[in-house]
Amino acid sequence: MFHFLGKTHIPHEKHTAGMPAVRMPSPAEVLIPLSQHIGAPATALVKAGDAVKVGQKIAEAGGFVSSPIYAPISGTVGKDESVLISAGRKVPAIRIVSDGQMAVAETVTPPDIHDFDSFRRAVQESGLVGLGGAGFPTAVKLDAEKKGLLNTVVINGAECEPYITSDTRTMIDRAEDVKAGVELLMKHLSADRYVIGIEKNKPEAIAKMQETFADNDKFSVAVLPDTYPQGGEKILIYNTTGRVVPKGKLPADVGVLVINVTSLAFLGQYAKTGMPLVEKCVTVDGPAVADPKNVIVPIGTPIIDVLNFVGVEEGKIAKILYGGPMMGVSVYSAKDPVLKTTNALTVFDRKSVKNAETVACIHCGRCVEHCPMGLTPTLFTTFMEKDNKDERAKLLDAENINLCMECGCCSFVCPSKRPLVQNNRLAKAEVREYNARQATLKG
């Protein structure tokens, strides 16, 4: 019997679900890291003192798995800078000081899309990376088509993280863009089944998608349970198609392309206007936000500008996250920029960041029961206590540590408040190191 994976009840906190996005005034300056995606950093095309316009390419893809970057505002390029990104590395960044004009570059024209190759090129040139948060360059995903692997496209509209509603608003307010995006895929991919997964706590979005695609028999809406983590890639694939992505394989290996609904809406709009990825709809919410909003923000805008626009009291800010509370990443400084992958800024006050004390594991099994991937987090903890690093890595690998997607269910449900995901992250890094070491030994 089929039953949905992912069953952790987490308070939804979707206060902004009914709020269409508002555009914030363009910021005085932006700071654009050249690494906002998985893969090689982009290489700068502009230097200090250059004048740039909105939509002008300022950095070129730095490799095959990479993505170009465009100016989100018009103005003058400042001197070279670097910024500490959440991965803990310093990466080069371009600062643009606004001229207040928001003049659009002449190069912004609708792309020429007539076959798969030109479509892929356009996707690459658009600067699109997975907007669900992972930041994988979308064009690279499309290559599965070339290998003749794809038969199903799964569109991620689950938006299972608490607070975030930017995808919800995309489905409701930009249904036509989503439709244009789907039509593009239908035209250029051989997949004949399109299914969008939406959690049942978004009835308006479900209705809008059903209505928009009513006459398209290749398209269906899968209503998912409103339990976390429906939006996890492998969980979403299983819950919408029943297919299981084997360990170490990609969705394409089971014939599936997964694309976020906002990514798709962006593609639809890009094909019409040619305006590359220069702005994002960002949900600003959290315990420290009195008046939450969905805001359209130029990429590179300092977070503090966005929070000021929403009216967050500066004195209340204790912790800021890129993304939602389950998988979001702590921001180092409020001056850090909004990125391509930023779909939300979750702001905590001092009171709400306090966590209960970590105590001994009582073996209750909640982590096992709630792991959507069927892993046993307590085993990983036991393994990590072993002294021999190689033995550790082998045991961890045998128990499928690499299947952990760090969704956070185990840590969330743990009554002893143990740092289970944190342990898994450490364990995954060790297994990576071990495998690299083994590869060097063999090579």
Binding site: A318, S330, I362, H363
Partner: protein, 309 residues
């Protein structure tokens, strides 16, 4: 604005804590404790109080002497003390209660590393220890630990000729011989249902345990009526709801929990029908505690996309 707090995800946690779980277990035991005091009189309260207080003091004392972090605040010692007291006959000597509690807490739990590290249920092991250590103690107010009040326990009566069993209703309400907290099935069920409703225990563990005992008894005794006595008598209900569900000492995997519950039921019947003791629940749970790590190993959850094991 001060410096931002940096931490690793997830940034929110459920409100359920270990302390809260233990508190819920304490709450769930109260109906049966109250029933025990009504049925067996004020001395039942004394036994329960002595066991609970000695358990808490034993843990606090051990932590002090061993220079460990004080853990009595997690209420687990209260649970152990209460459960142990509930499993004792009302006439038991106070000094024996103290020794049993100290054994349960210090030897079974603390010496293994404290809460979460013990491999056997402290209350059950404490009870079994007392059963063995104090059976021969002559001149004390009770002949055997399972044989209490004025009459023999129903389990001893089953199968004996001319024995008059209490009515099934008396069995259900607990008006019969037995340990303080085990006789009033009604009160135990109220507590058990509370734990299930609070999401603390899985209903299938007690259900499978009790159903297994029921089925095997029915098959062996050939009487539906006697099979009903078998599940109402002895420590089955208290064991199934409150001891076979002890997180620490049962398998962590869902299938493992099922196997564990079935095993408990099977061993209980084997002891009851073929062993020297009329009651087998404590021994059954203790035995299954010991094999739990192996059950866990054999019942691993299959990972999504992982190879079959």
């Amino acid at each position: 604005m001060e410096k931002l707090i940096i931490s690793s995800s997830p940034h929110v946690k459920s409100t359920l804590t270990t302390r809260r779980i233990m508190l819920d277990v304490v709450i769930s035991l109260l109906p049966a404790c109250i029933a025990g005091c009504i049925i067996f009189g004020w001395r039942a309260l004394l036994v329960l109080a002595v066991c609970t207080v000695s358990s808490v003091l034993a843990e606090a004392g051990f932590n002090l002497l061993a220079k460990k972090k004080q853990t009595v605040g997690d209420f687990s010692a209260v649970v152990t003390g209460l459960l142990l007291g509930m499993n004792l006959p009302v006439e038991i000597a106070v000094w024996q209660c103290v020794i049993g509690s100290v054994f349960a807490i210090v030897v079974v739990k603390c010496l293994f590393g404290g809460l979460g590290c013990n491999f056997a249920n402290p209350a059950i092991t404490g009870r079994v220890f007392m059963l063995i250590a104090f059976t021969q103690t002559a001149g004390i107010a009770f002949p055997t630990i399972v044989d209490v009040t004025a009459s023999a326990t129903p389990l001893e009566l089953i199968g004996k000729e001319n024995a008059v069993l209490p009515s099934l209703l008396d069995m259900f309400l607990g008006v019969r011989g037995g340990a303080i907290g085990e006789t009033c099935i009604l009160a135990l069920l109220v507590g058990g249902i509370y734990l299930i409703a609070r999401g603390i225990i899985k209903p299938y563990i007690p259900l499978v345990f009790i159903a297994t005992v029921f089925l095997f008894s029915w098959m062996y005794l050939g009487s539906l009526n006697l099979a009903l006595y078998e599940i109402l008598a002895g420590g089955l209900v208290i064991g199934a709801f409150f001891m076979a569900t002890d997180y620490v000492t049962i398998p962590i995997t869902p299938v493992g929990k099922l196997v564990f519950a079935f095993g408990c039921g099977l061993v209980t019947c084997l002891i009851r029908f073929f062993g020297n003791y009329p009651e087998g629940v404590s021994f059954a749970i203790l035995l299954m505690n010991i094999v739990s790590p192996y059950i866990e190993k054999w019942t691993k959850v299959r990972a999504l996309g992982g190879a079959a094991k």
